[in-house]
Amino acid sequence: MFKAMIKKEFLLVLRDKHALLALFVMPAIFILIMSVAMRDQFTNESIEFSLYVNDADISKISKDFLTKIEADKKFHLLDDETSAQFVVTIPKDYESKPNSKLSINVRDSIKSDEIEAFKAMLFEHVLSAKLENMVRNIEGVSPQISKILSDLEISVETMYEVSYNNSINIPNSTQQSVPAWIVFGMFFIIIPMSTIYVNERKQNTLARLNSMNVSIFAMGISKSIPYLVINQFQVLIMLGVGIYLVPLFDTPALVINGSFFALGAVSVALSIAAIGISSLIAVSAKSSEQATTIGGILNILLGAIGGVMVPKFIMPPVMQKLSEISPMSWGLDAFLDIFLKSANFSMVLNNVLMLITFGVISLMLSMLILQISIKKGF
């Protein structure tokens, strides 16, 4: 019986072309567009400033500074100031007068946050050149101290080290986009599920099945299994898009650092949650139009709150707290932990349990509503 019911559900979903577009094509396109569009927002490596340096000092320290700028890929040193974003002037006597300052002339089109980023990046090289100059100056005073200082690699990197909790990799736009749009796409099963459910209710096929000794529980479970399978295919395809397709557009590929078992567990748990909420909407709606409208709006709201549309880390603290109510957020956090922090199963277990609990409660509630609606008879 289960086999026949699962087959029927697959046939109905696979013949719904709009549903297939929403389930597979839409999230894949989102992943591609968002990964490429946000490529520069998620990595410092790609930030590049063009600058022209006007060296009025022509000293040892100014040459050191220029060498460092030339070696840094974040800067594009120009020979002509007309097309430069920034013009940096090294004043005369810069080396001899410790209090003298570099002057930076900024073009009008540069935004304030870019100016701050430029100043911070430039500061590293200014500091480094000045420290090296200090070492040269004290060389004659004490050979022992001079030796110790010259052995040191003087740069900003020697002063601090950036570390991420449990992380070995810095996130890139693909690693942010793929999990977000996987989660969003998985919840889009609401469209085929509700359409089929409402049609079955309207056409009385569910009541007919019930009169044929098919229990509500059997109906609920046999309807859920195909969507569980479809969701897993979605995850595989979206991961494939992140790993193989996105790099073709000069964007970093998806890297999975964590456990594949944890990834599977999160994927299944997310699917159960998506099936639960989809069933609940499908059995409560009076028409498929109503179900798809409510489902679509709910999806977008849960996605917006849950960090799909806007990454949670750039949300204000109040919004970050609010995002915790969205099951999409539980799934997204777990995926990000796996992709970015090499999380294993135990590290995502809490989120997995929350998603499963949410899904099972929603599914049971939907079966109860379905039972009541079937009781109304033909």
Partner: protein, 291 residues
Amino acid sequence: MIKITNLTKSYGEKKALDNLSLEIKKGSVFGLLGVNGAGKTTLLSILNGLISQDSGSVEIFGLDMNKELKKVKSLSSIIPQHLAFYEDLSVKENLDFFAKVQNAEKESYDKSVEINSLEEILLQKASTLSGGQKRRLNIAIGLLNNPKVIYFDEPTVGIDPKSRNEILDSIKEYKNFGITVIYTSHYMNEIEKICDEVAIIDHGKLIEQNSVENLITNRSSDSVSVEVIYSEKLQELGLDMSSETTIKTKESELFATLKLCKTHKISIKQINYGSSNLEKHFLDITGAKDV
């Protein structure tokens, strides 16, 4: 035999079934008549195990519905008024699905296809079928489990006369297989044509249960219809006519009516005592203006 005893079902304040008792003979075609809201659908839903009664009992072929619901369901089948199948699946896919769900045997599968003449449209998508073909598919699904009792809930709504007659003929055939048919319809002529016995329900109560023959020739009513050969004089006499050739009168006024016909040389074909047809009888005893 199907034995319904003191069946009561209420929805809030409204009593859908009020102490209803019925007995339906095995192998008969039994008509269930009643205006909308009379309680027919509630009765069918209880007989199918979709809802349960507040009180009373139902026994189908010796099985108590309350205690052996699963067995009872496997013996019966409902043909719902609304087409209950998958429009996006083909005829064969629909039949295969409903057959597997019920573990139907190949023999009953083939019989369902044959009785309903579905052989040539098996691969056609259900949504592309004509109204009559859809009705036949709807019925075929109900026959897959080789039921001993079939409940038809208005199965001929919205189809052409040819398809209707085909369906009615196939229902009459079920008697040959020993199947008990419980049939509800708004079309009284259908009930007259195929049913052996009829129960009239009104406001959840049984008003009358009788054979179709007895109901049509019901002598409890004093109405008489006199069928005559058409004459232009009929319109001038100021008689109560139910059709161009049928005079409506009462038993007490029959002699005067016949005398009038003789005086004006109007030939008499037939005299019918009681209600002229089932519909008339139904309207008489329920007080409804229309079926």
